[in-house]
């Protein structure tokens, strides 16, 4: 609501442009500084890497492979986390049994248990999806669970006195009231999926952005490495924009929140 901030006379797109230009300058400086030049090849070289990787026939397959793993792992994680979170919130035994373990596993970096997954699930797509599913499931379960237990008690009472049954309460009060948390869960889940991807592809993947960065490391090919890192960043930003869109579309009724 308070749109009056300092610098509001400069339009948003102009700020974006300034920010972009600043980053480009910084990049250029890094690319000419002898100490950092090897890690930061300049813009032209980095863009050239696109055609290098295309010629090798891996550019699109790396991107699509990673996206498929991220999408599948995220989707399964989301589908599992919804009922788990609701059951945890509604039934104390479920909560008491599951919650300590969710907290326990959540703090272990996925990279640590990737080898174990590979030993059982083999190499290829399957372990990647499993690892992403685990990571996204944990973070999304915790977030949605918080949402369900935070539903304002008086809203439930208000619905009850208006004649709502348990089913009505669930569908017409708890579900919409939890929606902002579900969207937050989607945001955290999608970024977790992406960060976990590198770990998930670390063992035995045949394609993928994370796997490629590691293999390029062996040949010190920094331009395509930097290119791939930037691509991961761009994918993350696209996810973020999509979640922002969902937020505006479905939770515009919320009080406060202005970022």
């Amino acid at each position: 609501m308070n749109k009056k901030k300092k610098g509001s006379s400069i339009p948003k797109w102009a700020w974006l442009l300034i920010s972009f230009a600043t980053a480009m300058c910084l990049w250029y400086l890094l690319s000419i500084n002898p100490k950092t030049a090897r890690s930061f090849p300049n813009l032209v070289e980095t863009i050239k890497a696109i055609s290098t990787m295309m010629e090798r026939g891996v550019f699109w397959s790396d991107i699509s492979s990673s996206l498929i793993s991220v999408a599948a792992g995220f989707a399964i994680g989301f589908i599992l986390s919804l009922p788990t979170a609701v059951l945890m919130a509604w039934y104390a035994p479920v909560r008491n049994i599951i919650e300590p373990w969710i907290q326990f596993i959540r703090n272990i970096p996925p990279l640590a248990y990737v080898p174990l997954v590979v030993i059982s699930a083999g190499v290829g797509r399957r372990p990647q999806i499993i690892v992403i599913t685990i990571a996204t499931f944990l973070i999304m379960t915790v977030t949605i669970y918080q949402g369900v237990i935070n539903v304002d008690e008086t809203l439930i009472k208000a619905a009850r006195v208006l004649g709502a049954t348990d089913k009505d309460i669930f569908l017409k009060v708890i579900a919409p009231a939890t929606l902002p948390f579900i969207i937050t869960a989607v945001r955290l889940g999608s970024s977790t999926a992406l960060t976990t991807l590198i770990a998930a592809e670390s063992t035995g993947a045949i394609a993928g952005l994370g796997m490629r960065i590691r293999s390029l490391n062996n040949s010190f090919e920094t331009p395509p490495m930097l290119l791939y890192i930037i691509i991961i960043g761009i994918i993350g930003m696209i996810f973020e924009k999509f979640v922002k869109f969902l937020e505006r579309r479905f939770t515009g009724w919320q009080e406060k929140r202005d970022v």
Binding site: L155, A158, A159, V161, K172, W253
Partner: protein
């Protein structure tokens, strides 16, 4: 209208409510007996912690008495029912629904068709003078407007008794008096029984036909004061000697209880 001829709407029969707390049992209500007559306007006053809200929740069916019972229209109260509407102090509007959809909420639960529900909702939205805000979300409304929506929502499902738990407690003085006037108007038009909790003695006297003074620890009815000031009552009513006398009396009773609680 002689009260003897009126029907008992709600009978509160020897209600006792005990809560288990960390410090052992806490008796919230003990031996509460009260007859609420049809179309009557009752206000309950008392210090905080005297069990006013507990009593309201028991009548609403949101809470069960530990012993005793509440009989509404000859039937024992078990759970909530749409014949008993509730207005909460914290408005309790669904923030994801517009004003109109909020008022329609209970009607839709009854299985009413959209256009039918909408017509009824609009009638009550007009009653609370919010026809210019039908498509606004609760966050876009002031406190007074939110409470008007909550009142319209409660009326829309056509309850025969309205239970109000300090509905104007969070509002500023002007809005409060305005809503009091509006509520009295509506009460006279709609002829619904009102059970209204407040800690504001002025508010109780201006609204009610009967003021129930409750005492704390354990909560019970201390005194029932008949308010024989004729309706319509306005803000000028607060100046007449009768009003001031009643106010003095009720206030001193409540204050005594307040001192008891502080001990």
């Amino acid at each position: 209208m002689a009260r003897e001829e009126r029907r008992v709407k709600v009978k509160i029969d020897n209600v006792r409510k005990v809560f288990d707390t960390r410090n052992g049992e806490m008796i919230a209500l003990n031996g509460v007996n009260l007859d609420i007559m049809e179309n009557e306007f009752i206000c309950v006053v008392g210090p905080s912690g005297c069990g006013k809200s507990t009593l309201l929740n028991i009548i609403a069916g949101l809470s069960e008495p530990s012993s005793g019972k509440v009989i509404c229209d000859g039937k024992e109260v078990v759970g909530t029912g749409t014949e008993r509407g509730v207005v909460f102090q914290q408005y309790a509007l669904f923030p994801w629904l517009t004003v109109k959809k909020n008022v329609m909420f209970g009607l839709k639960l009854k299985g009413m068709k959209d256009n039918e529900a909408e017509a009824i909702a609009m009638k009550y939205i007009k009653m609370v003078q919010l026809e210019d805000f039908v498509n606004h979300y609760p966050k876009e409304l002031s406190g007074g407007m939110k409470q008007r929506v909550a009142i319209a929502r409660a009326y829309a499902v056509n309850p025969s008794i309205l239970l109000m738990d300090e509905p104007f407690g969070a509002l500023d003085a002007q809005t409060r008096t305005q809503l009091q006037t509006e509520l009295l108007d509506t009460w006279e038009k709609e002829q619904k029984t009102c059970f209204f909790i407040t800690h504001d003695v002025d508010e109780a006297i201006i609204l009610a036909q009967k003021v129930i003074i409750m005492s704390a620890r354990p909560g019970r009815i201390k005194e029932i004061v008949d308010i024989n000031i004729p309706y319509p009552r306005t803000q000028e009513t607060k100046m007449i000697p009768e009003f001031l006398e009643l106010k003095n009396h009720i206030w001193s009773q409540v204050y005594q209880e307040y001192l008891e609680v502080r001990k």
